[in-house]
């Protein structure tokens, strides 16, 4: 048996081939670097770009993830527009509006937290903005809990105990199936967001962030804004169907 190895050593001797891809030393290699630079990155800028691109890519997957639910919503609302409108009117616009306001303000405080880290402000300032963001997020979840409790009390949770007085019980049950699936998944993202923010707050408290290194705050901020934006779509789709008819 002729070994494959020798066969190719012969081939290598064709004279006209150019040199293989050149390996030349690039840069100085071991200059003193930032303590938070991971070994496989060349510099802080590359590390930051990789992390933010990674988060943006992750958010694309999140859009597709929620997209499946939005698709289901589209199909069923198209099948029964009146049923969805009737069901929507049992949601409390006051709580929904208040929650929307809380999340929008929390996005502002989040942006200020990123800005505080980026401009190397005192850790106390960074922590203040981060904690405000968390309080607003927790407030959102608290209100969501009140709303869910009301739904359980009124028997409009889908399943064997679902009870509907209106004209369209089936579409209403479907609407509430989607309501719980969509807001539940969103609330889960809020809970995960609060977990991330806790870690970031501790890191900020330990004075880890300044203008040279604030990637974790930036990346957590991107996630937080995304979860906020999902709610900006959920609120009108779920709470505001056909409300403008009554306004005249």
């Amino acid at each position: 048996m002729r070994s494959a190895l020798s066969e190719h050593v012969e081939k290598e001797q064709f004279p006209q081939y150019p040199a293989p891809v050149a390996i030349q030393p690039a840069g100085t290699g071991h200059a003193p670097h930032h303590p938070y630079l991971q070994h496989h990155f060349d510099n802080m800028a590359q590390q930051m770009e990789a992390s933010t691109l990674g988060m943006w890519t992750f958010l694309v997957t999140e859009i597709m993830f929620f997209g499946g639910l939005f698709m289901a919503y589209l199909v069923y609302r198209h099948q029964s527009p009146q049923g969805f409108q009737e069901a929507s009117h049992h949601l409390d616009v006051f709580w929904g509006t208040l929650n929307t306001a809380l999340l929008i303000i929390s996005s502002l405080t989040m942006a200020l937290a990123v800005r505080a880290a980026q401009t190397s402000q005192k850790p106390k300032t960074q922590v203040m903005w981060l904690v405000s963001t968390m309080i607003l997020g927790a407030g959102f979840l608290g209100i969501k809990a009140i709303e869910y409790t009301e739904k359980f009390r009124d028997h409009i949770v889908p399943g064997p105990y679902f009870h509907w007085e209106g004209l369209y019980p089936k579409p209403a049950e479907q609407f509430y199936s989607l309501y719980f699936a969509m807001t539940g998944l969103h609330a889960l993202h809020m809970v995960i967001g609060l977990g991330i923010m806790t870690v970031i707050t501790v890191m900020a408290w330990k004075k880890q962030f300044d203008g040279e290194y604030y990637t974790p705050v930036e990346v957590a901020g991107l996630y937080w804004h995304f979860v906020d934006i999902v709610w900006i779509f959920l609120f009108p789709l779920l709470y505001l169907i056909g409300r403008h008819y009554h306004a005249g």
Partner: protein, 538 residues
């Protein structure tokens, strides 16, 4: 070629403890963790296939009950699709090679890379538990309302397994995309990238855009089973066709997750063993992206007989045929590359030749199925089984095995017995064709898929198929044996046993943990075998 002694410290002997493997962040070690786990799943899926073929040896359901048979083909599909084919080339060869091919020390997110392996294993455990505790009988497609309401088997458990494993795939794709964008060595422009990397980039796009949709779909099935939310079951007001749309929105592109990386492997093999640059580099690179993009617009061809509107069917039929264009670009360009090349017949190249022939058959029969009128006759028959096994086995597995043989010396630092490798390749080729070619015929004659029993006149084809599967199974075992044997006994490979051109062949075998002592500066593309004035690319 100057010979470089194998490095005393490489990624394999840099740490021997269990935790140095289980907590590693080295993309090369993670690739080997994946290799071990997907090999286990491959043989598990193969065992189910063997049981299916044994049952089908006779027309009656005599070896297993029809219920058991349903579970066997379901578990065969679930294991092979989600736990072998989808991760096979990306998670093993892609993980190992992409950072090296682009001159980086590691993937952009090493910890996420390790996490994705743990997620994969966790998802696998759920599925194995589902299999042991009684199995799932819905088919790997989990069609509603059977999966949401009727089936008494462990749908939620298997569904959770698939849901979890999906995140492993998402994280791998995310890691590859960021790595290719941000970690390329100086001078390594997009059009100097190896075609293997282009193929994986396109694959990663499908992973991140498609996988979340199957995740939410499976989640909704589980929620519907568990909490009685009415999403897909008509009895609860849902729409089962919506399930099929959502399922195939991922699962059709998923077949390109399986085939695109194999195409990337074949592009590398053809260039190395024909000693020529690829014919039409940019066309081959962009055909990967085109397959990824068009692949997202064809899912409706799975619903031709499901009550989808005729006009939707027409549109999906036409777009499905468009996929044939970039696929054909690849096949023609590989063939054109061979022209006047200095072709050698080493075992990786045999797999590449096998791939081109079998993928062409698999692809062309796909056009039969994309034709509306034909599909009504062929739908859910063995014709479609044969079609996708020609693409999945003849394509994806041939690419995977070809790549494993080609890069085995790089991964382990050792050669393998070439004679045995050629024998195994021939064995697999013969066994494969004997298994699946008769299924084209018997499918065309009308034998439906997914039944334990069949009409007696189909028996001769099924006997041929089972005989072929036996040969195929033996063919898979042979490389297992000689690869394991080679680890200790085969001759050292040296950095570049094939005389190939590319960054991965310029570092020692096995590579050191950091891959490159210093970041390389790249001056031209890979595989520049011809004098530069004949190459005509950057």
């Amino acid at each position: 070629m100057e010979t470089i002694a194998p490095p005393t410290l490489n990624y394999l002997n840099n740490g021997h403890s269990l935790s140095s493997w289980l907590l590693t962040r080295d993309h090369k070690r993670i690739a080997l963790l994946y290799l071990a786990s997907i090999t286990a799943f491959f043989f598990l899926g193969g065992f189910f296939a063997l049981m299916i073929r044994l049952e089908l040896l006779t027309p009656a359901a005599d070896l297993v009950e029809p219920d058991t048979y349903n579970k066997l083909f379901t578990m065969h599909g679930v294991v092979m699709v989600f736990f072998f084919l989808i991760p096979s080339i990306p998670a093993v060869l892609g993980n190992f090679l992409i950072p090296i091919m682009i001159g980086a020390k590691d993937l952009a997110f090493p910890r996420i890379n390790l996490l994705s392996w743990y997620i994969y294993v966790l998802g696998g455990l759920f599925t194995v538990v589902a299999a042991i505790s009684g199995g799932v009988d819905t088919g790997w497609t989990f069609y509603a309302p059977y999966s949401t309401s009727a089936s008494n088997s462990h749908v939620i458990l298997a569904g959770v397994g698939i849901f979890i494993t999906g995140f492993s795939s998402i994280l791998t794709g995310l890691n590859f995309i960021v790595t290719v964008h941000r970690m390329r060595a100086p001078g390594l422009t997009w059009f100097r990238l190896p075609l293997f990397v282009w193929a994986h980039y396109a694959t990663s796009l499908i992973m991140i855009l498609g996988t979340p949709v199957i995740a939410i779909t499976v989640l909704l099935v589980a929620v519907e089973r568990g909490l009685h939310l009415g999403i897909f079951d008509p009895a609860l007001g849902g729409d089962p066709i919506l399930f099929q749309h959502l399922f195939w929105f991922y699962s059709h592109p998923a077949v390109y997750i399986m085939i695109l990386p194999a195409m990337g492997v074949i592009s590398e093999l053809i260039q190395c063993f024909a000693r020529k640059n690829i014919f039409g580099y940019a066309f081959v690179a962009f055909s990967s992206l085109a397959i990824a993009i068009i692949g997202f617009l064809v899912w409706g061809h799975h619903l031709f007989v499901s009550g989808q509107s005729t006009y939707a069917g027409l549109v999906f039929s036409i777009i499905s045929m468009f996929v044939a264009i970039p696929s054909a670009v690849k096949v023609f360009n590989w063939t054109a590359t061979l022209y006047k090349g200095s072709v050698s017949w080493d075992s990786p190249m045999l797999y590449a030749f096998g791939f081109i022939g079998l993928f062409t058959i698999g692809g062309l029969t796909g056009l039969f199925l994309a034709t509306l009128g034909m599909d009504i006759h062929m739908h859910d028959t063995y014709f479609i089984i044969a079609h996708f096994h020609y693409v999945m086995v003849g394509g994806a597995i041939f690419g995977y095995l070809g790549g494993m043989h080609y890069w085995w010396p790089k991964i382990t630092g050792r050669m393998y017995p070439e004679g045995w490798a050629k024998f195994a390749c021939l064995n697999i080729f013969v066994g494969f064709n004997l298994t699946f070619f008769p299924q084209f015929v018997v499918g065309y004659l009308g034998m439906p898929r997914r039944y334990a029993m069949y009409a007696p006149e189909f028996q001769v084809y099924n006997v041929l198929s089972t005989a072929g599967a036996t040969i195929l199974g033996i063919g898979y075992l042979i490389p297992m044996v000689y690869f394991a044997w080679s680890l200790k006994n085969a001759p050292l490979a040296g950095p570049n046993p094939w005389g190939a051109r590319g960054l991965e062949w310029e570092i020692p075998s096995p590579p050191p943990t950091e891959n490159f002592a210093t970041t390389p500066i790249v001056t031209h593309g890979t595989h520049q075998y011809a004098p530069s004035h004949e190459v005509g690319i950057v």
